[in-house]
Structures are given as structure tokens and as C-alpha cells.
């Protein structure tokens, strides 16, 4: 084992910045990053063991104990649960005779839950050894387990491939694109390199000017003006970096997965344009581990673009160099926050940084860096080809261009839609065939839970900003139990834990919601939850803590009647249940106590 790990560490130049890659290799080679492995890695990198452990323990796809030969990661996010995850989980447990969180005694398989894996339009879905299985049913689970027992390779268990590039020999995934509506910016035909060629014919300043004129704003959800971000970074000197955020972890979002499947050339082209504009020679595409199945395909796209001289040395003969490498994450939602992403790229815990300094001043390896979303870079390639003014004419005054949204949940046509900004929620619901809608979760858990009375509101940065997640929640769902509790569980898990308030409040709010669900809450608890949500929002460092109370706060505001129906209208309600408390001892002694009510 030692020799193998040493060779892995050496293949990354004994560079501690590449700890994520080293841990990923060790995990897939040995099924875990054991205590012994930590010792060897620390020794080879000449860092302390606790520093290796701090990274390993931050990401949930790295494990200390070995996972099974087949490691099943079943998505337990809201939409997966809505689509029948419980049955699928039950079948896995029954077939293997173990519970989630355990491995079979013969180490054949292990079962794990994981947060949203970006397949919300084809749930329930699971990842087994980097291979994605979608639309799972009890029968499909039986087949998978039979395949495991027959010793099949996981890839062999996939018999039907999805549409478009999903059937590409380098992907061969059963994943579907489900592109239901195309638009002029992202999905229209694009001549690869057309935007880059035009950019290289301009001054870098003019490229930024073009982006500013387009009024393009970040597509990850925050909506920061892209041109301005690039402008700040271009003013700095020395080595710089272009980072692309493909860590889409917001439950209900899956558009970057489809963009990387169908628009990878446009994405890399946009990154190269960004590099030229700010004066960077290196780019990193940070992809969430859940999309590892796209690795060979994306690497091949890069190779082809190097071959066409759209990347690499002396691009298109203009004397400009730009290289891109792909960095995989390992399961941490908070790495979608740009400074958390940078920390992760440096091989550390994905803890968001304090600001100032901003990444544009001090980013990757403390050098000026820009971090933009996949869709943003795709838009950049189009804008340079068609012009900033053309882009600015689309959409609304404050939100120009189009938006790719990922629609899932209770509707007839879940999938990917490239819409013009300014569409109302009702128009969207009509478009996706949604009836009997109780609520729409706009922009995922960190966004807003919208009631029907507000369905005339517009999808636009000035009204309802979104990174793309739209979850339709039908009337048959228990909003508090099925949605809010699931979301709070997610945030309590995914908080990096660094800020006191985010670490603690998400737990406290989750427990408070549990109390409501169990029927033990009183009216005062609701007021407390609102007050505590407010403190949390105001006192955390990054976007996670600033938005993680939204599931609680927006549902108490917008669906107060659901809460009122479940809480006691009294000053005190004991959570103590005598019958429950003595249940175990009653079973032992075989009699019931007389309880005076």
C-alpha cells in the first residue's frame, strides 16, 4: 500500500495544493483513506497528519473506513424523496440485509445517503462507483444487486443510454438531458472558437467592455455583474487564475450538468476568453464529484480544443497562452461558494474565506482570480460572438440575456428550459405542465418558498433571483415535514461549521422544525424561529449561513396557516411523553404503570 500511495503523491509532484486529487486517488484505489494512508500522505507532503485529516473529513466522499466494493450513494434530497426514494432505499436494505450507513459483512456493498446529485428530473437516483443510476424502482434495484452478486463491473449494469452526448462512448450514461426549451444564448448553434477568435482580435479592455455592455450577471445565483468582476481582477498584476464553478450543489439544480454534457466547448471557450480579458494563463474547472462520470468526456473535449489551437500555447497564432485543468470536488455543498471553492482547489477544507480581500485581489494561491459559473462562461462565448448589445437587448432591463432553469418536482415535464428573464412563475408552471401546485421553491433551499398568491412574480434578478433551481411542490405534499425539515437537515450537514451561528443555528432550527412536526411546538416557538433566523442571517460570513434559515423563515411567513394548524396555542407544552419514556422498561417487566394524567 505504501509504495502505491507514494507513487500517487509523486504523480502530483508532492504538491500539498493537490491534496484533493491525492485523496481521491487513494479513496478509489483502496476504498478509503485509512489512518495508515493519512500517515504516508502526511509524511510525503511534509505536512502534519491533522492537516490531511482536516481535508479528508470535510468531504463526504472520502471515508476513513472502507466502503464496499460497490458503494451505493442514494440521493435523499427533497425531490428524490418526493419521487419514491423510501421504497428504493427499502429495497436496497432488504436485498443486501444491511441498513444505510453500513457495509455487507463480505464487503460486497455499502449503502450511503448523499445530498442532491443533480438528477432531480430523473429521481430517485443513486451513484454507484461514479456511475449514475436514474429513475430507480424496486425492480431496478433487484437487477443492480443481482449484477453486484454476479461480479459485474458497474458500467456493465447500464444498458440504456440517455440522449445527446450521454450516449457518447466516453460517457455512456443512462442520464437524460431533458432539454425542453432552447434559447438564443446557450442552446442555439455555436461555431466553437467564434467568440474566442473575435476576443483575440480585440484589446483585453475591449473584451471586458463588451461583457459590461452585455450587462451579463453571474448565473450561479448571486447575480454579480461579470464585467465588473473581471475589471477588478484585470487591474491587479502578476499571475492570475480563471476558475469555473461547476460545483452546482443547490438541491434541485442540474443545468450545469447538462451544459457540461452538451456545451463543454462553449464553456472552455468562455474560460479562455476570461483568461485573455484579465491576463491569466491558467484556468481550473472545479467539478463536483457527483459528475465524475463526465471526466473522460470533458478531458477529451479539452484535448480536441488543444488540437484546434483554441487552448494551449500561442492560441490561434495570437501569442496568447491558456491552459485548463479539471479539479474534482468530493462532496461538499459549501464549495459552491467561490472562496470555499478556492480553498478546496488548494487542497483544504472548503471553508469560505473572510472578505476582504476578495478573490479578484487574492484568490487561488493568493493570486488575483475570477470565479464564474458554467452558464456564465457559456454566455461569454456567445456574447463575444454576437456582441454585448445583442445580449443586452434580451430579457429585462436589469437581467439581460436568458436563464437556464432546472425544473423538477410535481410537474409533467421536468427538465431544462432556457427562458427569457422576466417570465412569471405562473407562466413557468403552465410551460412545465404543473397543476394543483401548493408552492414553488425558487432557487433551491437557499431561496424562497413561494405561495400561489405570489405566482405572478417574475423570474429576474430584480424580483426572484435564481441560480436555476425550481422545485414544484404539489398540494399532496406535507410542506413542513417533506420539504422544510429535509432542507434544514441538509444545511445542518453542509455548514462548514466555522461560524458559531451557522454551525449551531442550523441544528437548532432543524430541531425546532422537528418539534413542530412531532406536534410539540407552541406559538412562541414560531416567533423564536423567526427571531433566530434573523440573527443567523445577519451574523455569518458566507452565503450559506445568510440564506440557510430561508426554508424556515419563508414558510412561516408564506404558509403560516400550516404552522398554526400544528402548534399549540398555549404558553407551555411539555415535550415529555411518559408512555414513551417507560416503554422500554415496560417491555422488560411486562406490565404498564398507572399514569395519572
Amino acid at each position: 500500500m505504501k509504495e502505491k500511495i507514494i507513487s500517487i503523491v509523486e504523480s502530483y509532484g508532492k504538491d500539498a495544493y493537490r491534496l484533493m486529487d491525492i485523496l481521491s486517488c487513494v479513496q478509489s484505489e483502496f476504498g478509503c483513506v485509512s489512518v495508515e494512508a493519512v500517515g504516508v500522505i502526511a509524511e510525503q507532503l511534509h505536512i502534519s497528519e491533522v492537516d490531511v485529516i482536516q481535508t479528508r473529513s470535510f468531504y463526504h466522499f472520502y471515508t476513513c473506513r472502507p466502503v464496499g466494493k460497490y458503494a451505493v450513494y442514494l440521493n435523499n434530497s427533497v425531490v428524490s424523496c418526493m419521487m419514491g426514494m423510501a421504497d428504493v432505499a427499502d429495497e436496497f436494505e432488504k436485498q443486501l440485509g444491511i441498513s444505510f450507513g453500513e457495509s455487507t459483512p463480505d464487503a460486497l456493498a455499502s449503502l450511503h445517503y448523499t445530498a442532491c446529485i443533480g438528477m432531480s428530473d430523473q429521481e430517485p437516483a443513486a451513484i454507484i462507483n461514479d456511475v449514475v443510476f436514474t429513475s430507480l424502482t424496486r425492480d431496478k434495484v433487484k437487477n443492480i444487486i443481482a449484477g453486484m452478486r454476479a461480479g459485474k463491473a458497474v458500467a456493465e449494469m447500464v444498458t440504456e443510454y440517455g440522449d445527446g452526448n450521454n450516449a457518447n462512448p466516453l460517457i455512456k450514461a443512462m442520464v437524460k438531458n431533458n432539454i425542453k426549451k432552447t434559447g438564443p444564448v446557450i442552446f442555439d448553434a455555436h461555431q466553437t472558437g467564434a467568440g474566442l477568435a473575435k476576443a483575440l482580435g480585440m484589446e483585453p479592455k475591449s473584451v471586458i467592455g463588451e461583457i459590461k455592455e452585455s450587462n451579463l450577471r453571474g448565473r450561479g445565483g448571486a447575480g454579480f455583474p461579470t464585467g465588473l468582476k473581471w475589471d477588478f481582477c484585470s487591474r491587479e498584476s502578476g499571475d492570475k487564475y480563471v476558475l469555473c464553478n461547476a460545483d452546482e450543489g443547490e438541491p434541485g439544480t442540474f443545468k450545469d450538468r447538462v451544459l457540461m454534457t452538451e456545451r463543454s466547448e462553449m464553456l472552455f471557450e468562455g474560460m479562455a476568453i476570461g483568461g485573455y480579458a484579465i491576463g491569466a494563463k491558467e484556468g481550473i474547472l472545479y467539478v463536483r464529484k457527483e459528475y465524475k462520470y463526465l471526466k473522460a468526456f470533458l478531458e477529451n473535449t479539452l484535448k480536441e480544443m488543444y488540437g484546434k489551437n483554441l487552448l494551449g500555447k500561442n492560441i490561434l497564432g495570437k501569442g496568447i497562452d491558456f491552459d485548463i485543468r479539471i479539479q474534482f470536488g468530493a462532496g461538499a455543498y459549501v464549495c459552491g461558494e467561490e472562496s470555499g471553492l478556492i480553498e478546496s482547489c488548494e487542497g483544504k477544507r472548503g471553508e469560505p474565506r473572510n472578505r476582504p480581500p476578495f478573490p479578484a485581489q487574492k484568490g487561488y494561491k493568493s493570486k488575483p482570480s475570477i470565479v464564474n459559473n458554467v452558464e456564465t462562461f457559456c454566455s461569454v462565448a456567445r456574447i463575444l460572438d454576437k456582441g454585448g448589445a445583442w445580449h443586452n437587448a434580451l430579457g429585462t432591463k436589469e437581467s439581460s440575456g436568458t436563464k437556464v432553469i432546472s425544473v423538477s418536482g410535481d410537474c409533467k415535464a421536468p427538465g431544462i428550459y432556457e427562458i427569457q428573464w422576466g417570465m412569471s412563475i405562473q407562466e413557468m408552471l403552465d410551460m412545465v405542465g404543473a397543476e394543483d401546485v401548493q408552492a414553488v421553491q425558487v432557487a433551491g433551499p437557499s431561496g424562497i418558498c413561494l405561495p400561489p398568491s405570489q405566482f405572478d412574480r417574475k423570474i429576474a434578478l430584480e424580483d426572484l433571483p435564481t441560480g436555476g433551481s425550481m422545485i414544484v411542490i404539489g398540494k399532496k405534499r406535507d410542506l413542513i415535514k417533506d420539504v422544510v425539515l429535509n432542507f434544514m437537515d441538509f444545511f445542518a450537514d453542509e455548514s462548514c461549521g466555522s461560524c458559531v451561528t451557522c454551525r449551531s443555528f442550523n441544528m437548532i432550527l432543524k430541531k425546532a422544525i422537528e418539534k413542530v412536526v412531532e406536534g410539540n411546538a407552541i406559538k412562541k416557538d414560531l416567533e423564536n424561529m423567526l427571531a433566530w433566523s434573523e440573527i443567523l442571517r445577519k451574523t455569518t460570513r458566507c452565503g450559506l449561513g445568510q440564506t440557510s434559515s430561508n426554508p424556515v423563515a419563508t414558510t412561516i411567513s408564506n404558509f403560516r396557516e400550516l404552522y398554526d394548524a400544528r402548534v399549540h396555542d398555549q404558553d407551555y407544552h411539555s415535550e415529555f411523553d411518559m408512555h414513551k419514556a417507560v416503554l422500554e422498561s415496560c417491555e422488560v417487566v411486562g406490565r404498564e404503570p398507572k399514569v395519572h394524567e
Binding site: 505536512i47 497528519e49 485529516i53 482536516q54 473572510n354 453542509e494 455548514s495 461549521g497
Partner: protein
Amino acid sequence: MSETVKFTIDGKECAGTKGQCIVDAATDNGIYIPVLCHMRDVVPAGSCRICTVNVNGRKMAACTTPVEDGMVVENNTPELTDIRKAIVEMLFVEGNHFCPACEKSGNCDLQGLGYKYQMMVPRFPYAFERRDIDATTPKIYLERNRCIFCKRCVRMIKDSEGRSIFAFKGRGKTLQINIDRKLAATMSDELAQKAMDICPVGCILKKEVGFKDPIGSRKYDKKPIGSDIENIHQ
């Protein structure tokens, strides 16, 4: 010579140097902003959030925000006092803190702030988390029940080659402070003492020296936390 900037805290005219954080600048002007993770001249962690102030109307951590000319800082408002009290309460319910039996009692910043904000019964439910003590290293007890994740030890205590002796493990609800057994074995008495001294609570304890200061001569026995700073200019 570094550039001087002028700003106000709760209406009081203050002066500081450009790039200095609000906490340090306030201290130099005789104004106490409570801190648990911050230490002067150490890279700020910005993690305890108790130094939250209003900067030009927005909530900011005073340890990570540099002072600027014309900045209007509010440090003493009912809302901020309530937020700080909530954070103290939160730390008390999150860990397992039994002040009377703690070696750091009287010298503990968290306890000091509990008194300052007159915490009686925390408004949050206790978590009662099980946290294991690590006593495997020769010089240090790591009493995790009391850790508040300030990262002072993570940032400041390194071995002779600059390697971390302390680091976080896990995240969110599973977060814990971790000590490197191999490197901790090489710690000198001075370094172990420093680790205990910078720990704002009773999590890092030097072995064999418990309860050294008698009651009455401990740090906060006779004067409340922060009073030394507030008295500088009086």
C-alpha cells in the same frame, strides 16, 4: 509612516491606521468590542461572530473588517447586545460547560462574556453532545466539551517546521478540534503553556498544572472582561 484614518464608534471620534481591523482600532481608542477568536497580530478567523458591529448600517465582523476614513461604526445597540448574548448562550448550549469544575474558571473569556451579558438561562435548547477528551499526548489534555472552535490554536500553534499541531476535523454538526499526536509529542513546555494560554476557554489544558490561580486572583475575579481596555484612556 502608515496612513491615519478617522472614523466614529457610537459617535465617538476615533483614529486608526489604514488596514487595521475595527477591533484593534477600537481597543487603541479605549473601546471594547468583545472577541473570542480574535487576537492581535494573528490572521483573523472571523468565526465566533461575537464582534459583530454595524458598519455604515450593515452587520460586519469587526475582526475582519478594516477601518476606513469616515466609517460609522455602532458597537453598543440593544440589537447588537442581544445578538452577542445569543452567541454566548449558543456556545453554552452547544458544548458542555460546567464552570465550577473547570480549570479555566475565572480566566475564561466565554465565562467572562456570560457575566458581561448577564446570561441566566439560555434561550436555546441544550444539545448535550457527546464529545470525547483526548489525553493521549504527553503535555496536553484536549477537553473537547469546552471547545468553541475559535481556531486560535489552529492558527498559532505550529511545530518547529511550521506544521499544524491542531486542526479541525469534520464539518457542521460533526466538527471537532483535533490534535496531531506525533507532533504534539514534540511540544516544549513553553509551547504547551502558550497553547493553554491562548485558548479562550478550558479546552486546551497543560497537564499537571490544574487550578493554579486561587479564587480571588484570577483574571476576571475582580474586574469584568473588557474593563482593562475601557480604562486605558480614563
